[in-house]
């Protein structure tokens, strides 16, 4: 009844182009922003930040990045873990080399560095497609992890081979290092998520996005209409890697604090982010968030239910958790191959007609 476009007339094309054309959606979006920025920081504690919010926010950035490449441009990539590692090591080198520069700028620069690396590994995409491209990006994954293990310069010749984040502040408030407050790290990540989501949305609704989707849907027709396949594929790799680099940088510096590259940024990470966008919905910004939320929250929820409520032993619960998550993914993909975003769209369609479906 309240959720429809009837009566909400758009008189300019700019109005018609906005992200949330339906009033209700727009208010809901403002409400979420208000809640996330002005309420959550005051009630949040360490457990919620470390177990739920921080991984959700950081994985959201990575999922948006990968979704641009896979969902919008149709180029399958299994190199996400490697590219996150590039972001992490770039920010580490920048933090230690230029301690006086703001961490905010370092993280953006780390994204830029990852972007360049992404373009380099995106070059084969001009010649190969689909699964073959996936294998080529797999090479990036293994090569990058090997490189960061092998060359001591990357981890500043530390004895353990690990990198660990020194304390850095924004406006005098610590956001990295051991003495951070829950709300500070949360807000820091949230700002990046908001910026990234806005940029992704703006790019995908404009010319750049249409070029990507044209390449995804039919590359021959895209070329005949005037899309330069090399440029638009590489731009997708660049933007995607930028986001993934930012998320890797945040993952290392703000979330974990210390990282051993093979463990944290291995092939598992690539698959995890890929699952997020498949479950969330390819080619949808909302889907990136939904997928990240699903795969971050579900294990936490299961653990709380199995160990906390039912009192099962931790090891049994941990193994069961794997099986349940795996089964859910399979059921999900059979029931709704287009992911959570599609469920959301269907729900909105239904809601538009409710309560008179005819």
């Amino acid at each position: 009844m309240f959720y429809r476009e009837a009566g909400d007339f758009k008189t300019t094309y700019a109005d018609d182009n906005q992200t949330f054309p339906i009033k209700f959606d727009r208010y809901r979006y403002y409400a979420v922003l208000f809640f996330a920025f002005l309420i959550v920081p005051f009630v949040i504690n360490d457990y919620w930040v470390n177990a739920v919010f921080m991984p959700f926010l950081i994985y959201s950035i990575a999922a948006i990045g990968l979704n641009i490449l896979v969902g919008y441009c149709g180029q399958v990539s299994l190199g996400t873990g490697g590219f996150m590692a590039v972001g992490a090591y770039a920010v580490y080198k920048l933090m230690t080399a230029f301690p006086e520069v703001s961490i905010f700028i370092h993280i953006l620069l780390a994204g830029g560095v990852t972007s360049l690396v992404g373009v380099a590994f995106g070059l084969p995409s001009l010649r190969i497609k689909g699964f073959y491209l996936a294998v080529a990006t797999l090479a990036a994954q293994f090569f990058l992890v090997w490189l960061f293990n092998k060359v001591p310069w990357f981890y500043n010749y530390s004895a353990s081979g690990q990198i660990s984040a020194p304390e850095r502040t924004v406006f005098g408030i610590a956001v990295t290092g051991p003495n951070t407050a829950a709300w500070a790290t949360y807000l820091f990540c949230l700002i990046f998520v908001t910026i990234c989501a806005l940029i992704a949305r703006n790019l995908t609704r404009g010319t750049t996005g249409r070029k990507w989707m044209a390449i995804r849907d039919m590359d021959i027709a895209a070329e005949i209409i005037g899309v330069d396949p090399l440029k638009s594929k590489l731009s997708a790799f660049a933007v995607s890697s930028f986001f993934i680099g930012v998320s890797g940088a945040l993952f290392f510096s703000v979330y974990l604090g210390a990282v051993e590259v093979g463990e944290v940024f291995g092939i598992n990470k690539s698959f995890l982010v890929l699952f997020m966008i498949i479950i969330g919905g390819l080619g949808s910004i909302f889907g990136s968030f939904a997928g990240a939320a699903f795969l971050v929250l579900l294990p936490v929820l299961l653990k709380n239910v199995l160990v906390g409520m039912l009192g099962w032993p931790t090891d049994l619960a941990a193994h069961l958790e794997f099986m349940i998550v795996g089964a859910l993914i399979i059921i999900f993909l059979i029931a709704e191959p287009h992911g959570l975003a599609q469920l959301w769209r269907v729900a909105k369609e239904k809601l538009r007609l409710w309560p008179f479906p005819h």
């Binding site: 700019a14 404009g206 989707m213």
Partner: protein
């Protein structure tokens, strides 16, 4: 009328046709040992509707692919707007103002009708990625300006009601129309139509014919089309090239072509005794 003319002419229905827009000179295209096109020359004049006809496998689509840059002929030259065209990629051909549709529809299935038609405006949009990332300002202004052009085309082809529908959900006839809309959004100087009426019923064919004539009339677009329906071809086109087994066997007005003995033989067959 002969095919040697370099200047324009007046059509039977009184339209004025300009000078040569595109000229194919002695084009030969081989795939390995197979000769798809053998030594074909013809021209397309500004403002005319030029048909390419011929039996199956005559090399018509190959010819269109040569024009749009998919195939590179082994011999011969393509002249466009009075200059010899260097070898170029399809997207560069598009940037020169040549748009086309495909025999089997090549739309972007995952995108809405509006987005499909908007892709046709790519070469008219100049903002870079950073401006688009910010959106407010230049990118939004440019988007709105191009949207206005696209809406005119959507009006023109009478597809207003489906502009937000994903293309994948549309029936065949409408998809053909959307594909034409996308090609028109380029504002092409030369529009190539590969069997625009294949698989359509009579009403849809009549609609499409009207659109083609209107496009030519209102925008002054030069059109080269391949079609199998002889009635349509004879009615629509100003001049016709006839191909058979990769060779040109006729060229001229529909009437000239209809009475050409080689053409009659190719279509009806000859007895081999």
């Amino acid at each position: 009328m002969s095919d040697q003319m370099t200047e324009g002419y007046i059509t039977e229905d009184g339209r004025k046709i300009g000078g040569t827009l595109m000229e194919m000179k002695n084009i030969t295209l081989r795939f390995g040992g197979v000769k798809a096109i053998t030594d074909i020359s013809f021209d397309i004049k500004e403002g005319e509707i030029r048909a390419i006809i011929g039996p199956n496998g005559a090399g018509k689509s190959s010819m269109l692919n040569v024009i749009s840059g998919f195939y590179v002929p082994q011999e011969g030259e393509v002249w466009y707007k009075g200059a010899k065209r260097p070898q170029m990629k399809p997207y560069q051909v598009a940037q020169q103002g040549i748009a086309r549709t495909f025999q089997n529809i090549a739309l972007f299935e995952g995108m809405s009708v509006l987005d499909n038609v908007m892709t046709g405006r790519l070469n008219h949009m100049k903002t870079n990625m950073f401006q688009q990332a910010i959106w407010k300002g230049k990118a939004e202004k440019e988007e709105v300006e191009n949207r206005e052009v696209v809406e005119k085309i959507i009006d023109f082809l009478e597809i207003q009601s489906i502009r937000k529908t994903p293309v994948g959900r549309l029936p065949y006839g409408l998809k053909k129309r959307v594909e034409l809309a996308r090609a028109l959004a380029v504002e092409p100087h030369l529009l190539l139509l590969d069997e625009p009426m294949a698989g359509m019923n009579v009403e849809e064919k009549e609609d499409m014919s009207r659109f083609i004539l209107d496009v030519n009339d209102e925008f002054g677009t030069t059109i080269a089309l391949i079609e199998h329906d002889m009635g349509v071809v004879m009615d629509l086109s100003d001049r016709v090239v006839v191909m058979d087994y990769g060779k040109k066997i006729g060229d001229g007005t529909p009437d000239e072509v209809r009475n050409n003995q080689d053409v009659i033989d190719a279509y009806l067959g000859v007895s081999h005794d």
